[in-house]
């Protein structure tokens, strides 16, 4: 399974755009990149998934360069409620066991 590396923590302010980058140098051809969000004492929640280039949904964008060795989760105009831990997971769509690392703890300040 591809190993992922993300910053342990980030700080931002309300209204700013936040970009969290994940490195996955040994990503395999059939691997997808999936991001989850977790609030304290709650289960992880799916944010976005992609394979290459750019994916956008109502909450975030995911940018994946051509070599796919990294990916960037972009949260536009964050609010206090975006304070959470964000996890980057890499693996195939067919059955595999997601491995959650430490994630990135994002704190949004007023």
């Amino acid at each position: 399974l591809a190993k992922t590396t993300q910053p342990i923590s980030m700080d931002s302010y309300e209204g700013q755009e936040v970009n969290i980058t994940c490195s996955h140098n040994n990503i395999a051809t059939n691997d997808y990149i999936t991001w989850y969000q977790q609030f304290p004492s709650q289960g992880p929640r799916f944010i976005i998934q992609g394979y290459k280039t750019k994916v956008t949904n109502e909450v975030a964008s995911l940018f994946i360069p051509a070599d796919r060795k990294s990916s960037t989760l972009s949260l536009p105009r964050v609010s206090l409620s975006d304070t959470a831990v964000y996890y980057c997971l890499v693996g195939p769509l067919r059955s595999y066991i997601p491995t959650f690392g430490r994630g990135t703890s994002l704190i949004v300040h007023p």
Binding site: S41, F46, S95, Y96, F100
Partner: protein
């Protein structure tokens, strides 16, 4: 939006007692999972379940643990003889065909 539901939200038990944590996965999902998260630590995989049998399990999932799908909707995790170190949040998840996992809100297990 369909969701995974877990009960109870908080379970307090004495060491050595048996507990059953319950989950109702999303109805058309076929793969089910249990994870645990000790306070301040990572989300850890326990077991996956497909077609009425365990498909994978971690080293944590020893003989004290068992899972069952007793009917068409419930998915349970049983801990036979709880230990202090079993205190954690336990999350159930079910998976859609794109391998996106949908997690429940969790059960906080406190072993005294």
């Amino acid at each position: 939006e369909p969701e995974v539901t877990q009960t109870p939200s908080h379970q307090v038990t004495q060491m050595g007692q048996e507990v059953i944590l319950r989950c109702v996965p999303i109805s058309n999902h076929l793969y089910f999972y249990w994870y645990r998260q000790i306070l301040g630590q990572k989300v850890e995989f326990l077991v996956s379940f497909y077609n009425n049998e365990i498909s994978e399990k971690s080293e944590i999932f020893d003989d004290q643990f068992s899972v069952e799908r007793p009917d068409g909707s419930n998915f349970t995790l049983k801990i036979r003889s709880t230990k202090l170190e079993d205190s954690a949040m336990y999350f159930c998840a079910s998976r859609d065909p794109k391998n996106i996992q949908y997690f429940g809100a969790g059960t906080r297990l406190s072993v005294l």
